[in-house]
Amino acid sequence: GAGVSQSPSNKVTEKGKDVELRCDPISGHTALYWYRQSLGQGLEFLIYFQGNSAPDKSGLPSDRFSAERTGGSVSTLTIQRTQQEDSAVYLCASSFTINQPQHFGDGTRLSIL
């Protein structure tokens, strides 16, 4: 597709369950980023991929959070043993390479009951 695609658009799950969020970047973009947007914290960086490597994971809030990218394209963000404070909108962005304009998907709205 022309833009960054994220799925699912909404996810409701019970506390303690694991969730997987998917991001399909713009074709040809080597850099991929995950951010989290919540009311109290604004938009926060989580992790950056260049190709399949993640040189910057500094924003991941705990070891319950992990991400991978395969084939230099699709990325999956996994949250294990979800907690209520994980409720937020998870946004993915991609850019041609680092320090190029980042383009965002519409996010996954995650609600933990």
Binding site: Y33, G42, L43, F45, Y48, L91, I98, N99, F104, G105
Partner: protein, 115 residues
Amino acid sequence: QKEVEQDPGPLSVPEGAIVSLNCTYSNSAFQYFMWYRQYSRKGPELLMYTYSSGNKEDGRFTAQVDKSSKYISLFIRDSQPSDSATYLCAMSGQINTGTASKLTFGTGTRLQVTL
């Protein structure tokens, strides 16, 4: 203190007005400056992308960067009701500064353009 400060608004203006949105920042490593527009339940949409100091114009939008004051602005001319959204400033730095791999955002300013 946050690295990027932005007045959250809300800012309400009549249709046709000139809108001025601003951010200040503290990290002198920032070199790339962006403005995003975000509609409700949508992702941020890139409006303007500038490098270092100076002005950039695109249609009704003008972005200004003053690195000496650590101050950036977005001006919207002839504002329309469709401009009603949240506007986010964002910035990043060069690769060797540790700030290149992520955008640091302001909290966003909510803008309402009324008929």
